[in-house]
Amino acid sequence: MSGAAREGSIPGPLPDIDRLVHEPARFAILAHLYVVEKADFTFLLNQTGLTRGNLSSHMSKLEEAGYIEVEKRFVARKPLTVLKLSEMGRKAFVDYRQQMQQVLEELPQGASEG
């Protein structure tokens, strides 16, 4: 990295921010799973306002990363997909919130506010 680029880079913990959690749709999924014990696909679809395809693709990414546990089963011959935040996902979500709060606190006051 050049000196100029380094000078222009944002100080503090921002480079360490978890990009997987940072994406708004995935953040919404994690936030909803953080406050409940578990929920199914339909519930998250209603709560997050995401489309079916969007939720499905983000769900796969979070599952691949080990942030959520997905359980697929049949209830009365109908498929039921239940999602649960894993310990790793819980930690990632808490860390992300702390890091973001720290970044926001460390930001200098805007010129208009001064």
Binding site: H32, F41, T42, F43, L44, N46, L80
Partner: protein
Amino acid sequence: MTGNIDLKQIERKAWTSFYQDGLWEFALGLAMMIIWIDMITQDRLEWLMPLAMFAVPLSIYLIKRFVVIPRVGYVKFGGERRARNFKAVAVLVVSVLIGIAMAFAAGGMIPDFHKWLGDNWIPIFFLFKALIIFSLLAWLMDYPPLYYSGTVFALGLGLGSLFNSHLIFLSSWLLILIPGIYMFVRFLMKYPLPTEEAAQ
């Protein structure tokens, strides 16, 4: 994305979306309607009452299971909510037991119970009991509409018995059931039944 979000608000929104289906209003409105039917038929359908009191909760359970949950989705709330729900169920059970004990006592099991307590005090007791129980339930369940329907139920039960007025019973079940039907229809419109694929 900012980490500065209100998780309590997200949890509360999830909670209310799962419970604002009007079923509590259905239960209370139908219970009051059964008492009203018993009153206007002058106890001719008294045999039907225990059956109806069993059928109402069963119907509510079946509607929740087969109409509400498939639309809103399945969710298991956290420990704090479950503990509050457990307390609400305990309050409800204790309340029903007190009600049954009072009904037996007033029905002649305790001789001179009416004379001892005074006829007018029994409906007043039920009014305040229902008022306290439903306010407690509304608070424990974090379900504000129950403050309204519980108060109407308590007033209807107490004043209806005190003045022996079927009009009070009629208006109270209508005042509870109509908002319940409105809430249920609004719920059905907000949460249409997802296709089988959408549930995956």
